[in-house]
Symmetry: C2
Subunit: 491 residues, 2 copies
């Protein structure tokens, strides 16, 4: 299973790629930059989707579906938006193929050229706000709280499985509000939803903050984000929530009649997370034995493997294992009993370990005599022989313990990797030798931010929310600064 598997210490980047492939999560496809999400990877994504979708609905959102294609002219309507996305989009120009005149294969039919080209959506603000114009007339139509699960395409030149792909899966929320305050409240609410999901489901601690003007979403007045730290000391932006002001309402002329009878432009937010979270999940917990999954997102939480010498022994184990499986399922624990006879127990152990199943139960003939099983934890690799009596209770407790343990471990690591520096030399030293987040004073100008980025490849990941005001001196320009910001090299 773990043959030819690079260790994290050898080469973290290679370790990641090997892991994604060898744990059957995803692979590159025949189409440049597009991935195939394999069944094991997709099952984890489905767990993420379910948990997020539930949270969206609990906070009053409904799902809908908007077209894959966006007329080219829509992009030009919001000036900064088009600058942000035009450079990396797939363009549909024709709607038919025909047999090649030379009889070899098929060619584009030039008679079937579109009058206006269509863009494969890189994000849906424009088509959605064009649609909202028909849906919003009065304050009674607000707030409009809609989410979409969809595929989007951004023509990235350098791609990596899950982290940066030309096509990816995501959700994009698009809400409309009567006031700026309500829209900002929504922007922050959804950031909290993301942070809660990251910490309580992915067991991945995140820092909530705002992006600098340079790093804002194209068309936003304010971009909020959650930033996580990967095991190699690089940061990863795990989700964003944008306060769009009235930019898209103005671009698409969406006005409403207020309670006071005035005609006003609508206020907007948008927010999204994507299959990039799969990369974040992998790089938060996994190790040199493969994937480590937090129980809440593990498609299989417990696997049961029989170890038997003959059919008679197997029958006995089957009877017990099926009963145990049923009891666990009654507690809503996702369990698989793997009594396939074409693979040996050792092979199965290695396979489930590599694929990140949180708990493994092995049952042998001796166990059946003694009324015990062997319980192995994926996270700590501890193995214990435990009594069959009270086992389901024990397992339920252990799954909670593993979930908490993974979060605490990641939190401890993350906190140990936030370095406070006072000078640019310290900054570069930490960046080179330690990695992690660097908390430093910055003069607040895009110019300084850009120069630091060019010289060190570190970017301002965020200005943490509730950041304490603190007088200081910019590490780069020496100018006065009112607060620290978090820098890091990032995915």
């Amino acid at each position: 299973m773990a043959k030819d598997f690079t260790t994290m210490e050898e080469n973290y980047s290679q370790w990641y790629n090997d892991l994604v492939i060898k744990a059957d999560l995803a692979e590159n496809s025949a189409v440049r930059g597009c991935m195939v999400i394999k069944p094991h990877g997709y099952a984890i994504w489905e767990m993420m989707q379910q948990a997020l979708d539930k949270k969206f609905k609990q906070t009053g959102h409904v799902n809908a579906y908007f077209p894959l294609f966006i007329p080219k002219s829509f992009f030009s309507k919001e000036a900064s938006h088009v600058d942000g996305f035009a450079k990396e989009c797939a363009v549909v120009t024709h709607y038919r193929l025909k047999n090649s005149p030379d009889g070899k294969g098929i060619v584009v039919d030039e008679d079937a050229k579109l009058e206006e080209e269509l863009i494969v959506r890189p994000t849906s603000e424009t088509i959605i706000w064009h649609t909202y114009k028909g849906w919003i007339q009065s304050y009674r139509d607000l707030p409009l709280l809609i989410n979409q699960w969809a595929n989007v395409v951004r023509w990235e030149m350098r791609t990596r499985l899950f982290l940066r792909t030309a096509e990816f899966l995501w959700q994009e929320g698009h809400t409309a509000h009567a006031t700026a305050d309500e829209a900002i409240e929504e922007t922050e609410r959804m950031l909290d939803v993301y942070a809660d999901f990251a910490e309580n489901f992915m067991a991945m601690p995140v820092i909530r903050g705002k992006k600098t003007a340079n790093e804002r979403f194209a068309g936003a007045l304010d971009t909020y984000c959650i930033e996580a730290l990967m095991q190699d000391g690089k940061a990863l932006q795990a989700g964003t929530s944008h306060f769009l002001g009235q930019n898209f309402a103005k671009a698409f002329d969406v006005k409403f009649t207020s309670k006071e009878g005035k005609l006003e432009y609508v206020w907007a937010t948008s927010w999204g997370v994507s299959t990039r979270l799969m990369g974040a999940l992998i790089m938060s917990h996994s190790d040199n034995q493969g994937l480590v999954l937090p129980p809440k997102l593990a498609p299989i939480q417990v696997v049961i493997v029989p170890i038997y010498k003959d059919d008679e022994q197997l029958q006995k184990i089957n009877a017990y294992a099926n009963q145990l499986k049923k009891e666990l399922e009654d507690r809503d624990i996702r369990v698989k009993y793997d009594n396939r006879d074409n693979q040996r127990p050792g092979w199965k152990f290695a396979d489930y370990e590599f694929k990140g199943v949180p708990l493994r139960i092995a049952i042998g003939g001796r166990d059946m005599e003694n009324g015990t099983v062997e319980l192995a934890r994926r996270d700590t690799k501890e193995k214990h022989t435990v009594p069959q009596e009270g086992l389901t209770q024990e397992i339920a407790g252990l799954l909670t313990e593993i979930q908490d343990g993974l979060f605490q471990k990641a939190l401890k690591y993350r906190d140990s990797m936030i370095h406070q520096v006072e000078t640019y030399d310290q900054f570069k030293d930490v960046l080179e030798n330690k990695g992690g987040f660097i908390s430093a004073h910055w003069d607040g100008t895009p110019e300084t931010e850009e120069l630091i980025k060019q010289e060190t490849k570190a970017t301002i990941r965020c200005i943490p929310l509730n950041n304490p005001l603190e007088e200081g001196v910019c590490i780069y320009s020496g100018k006065t600064s009112t607060q620290r910001v978090l820098f890091a090299k990032a995915y």
Copy 2:
């Protein structure tokens, strides 16, 4: 709500369009032929997805995700496949836009032309079988039972909301097997899954059958289908399951080593249902008062509406209604309590009626004194005053009764609309004056099928499974025939 709503009798086609729009199910978008699925419509689609996804998983399938784009050359590899799909596909030719030289808007960047054009998937056999080549080596890798939920694009010239749209949502199963028998068994199994879903969830009776060679999926050896009858007497193909033989395995060179050590081509199936089912659902049960939903697919199964004179009365009703809501939810009944104060009860009644909520509970001040509520059924429009005691039990029973009732009603109608004819004159008479399915003898030739289609617009919907063999004479050619087939005009 139902203002300007055309009746079924006036104009069935207009009634359908009005209903889709006015019940907030979907609308046309700014992109030709692409629809926006609105929240109410999408919520019903989500119910369908959940039920189907569960059935797929219960029959051993897993989900995965393959790229949106397919390299043009892949299409040419399976000869009949390319003929079937090349004429109606969206073609991506460029990957970048740039500012227009005249400063007005944006234009396609001719420097960013793709070496090979990409097709937006109209169906995924080619890209998936290309991928399967890497996944299948041995009989141990089989069967491979994979499903994908995705959007697809077919550039239809004449579109109708849900029934025929350029982009639509669907699932496509793609399975690989070691033997023809196993693949045929899978093809039939999935047809049964679809039929079971149609009848037990959509309350829509279907006929299981095989398509004639003319109507087969491009690349299939055999296409199985379920055919339903709409209220206007036209048939609708609700789902298809294809036995693909070794066509795609040969086109993409996918071989496996059998148990006997021989290298053989893999056998394939594919099967799909789409948002077209939304159209089928609407046209199976709805009426001149709007949408009628079978309880199993209704996002809201029960709506509770308070009728009150003052705040004191409302408080009392609130207390009871919230308790009732909780009790219903404990029985997994989807319930909404609508005590918004900005709409009157009459408006709410009409709105929920139009949107197809199966059961409405109205509670007034008098009801609270008498310990009763008013229960209204959407399907029969019956209203009854019933005691609050035992209400949740009553409601659970009624939902089952409504589900069954809708199916029985649709079945009775469908069965009454299967007409047996012996001559072409009878055939044309029934087609013109009655509609429905016509059971008639056919000589088995594509030529006759085509001529009948040209002359009458009726097509052979299917050769029903387990069709009795019966000697007869083709209604068109007079040649001998061994069995009857089902003709109809169809959506």
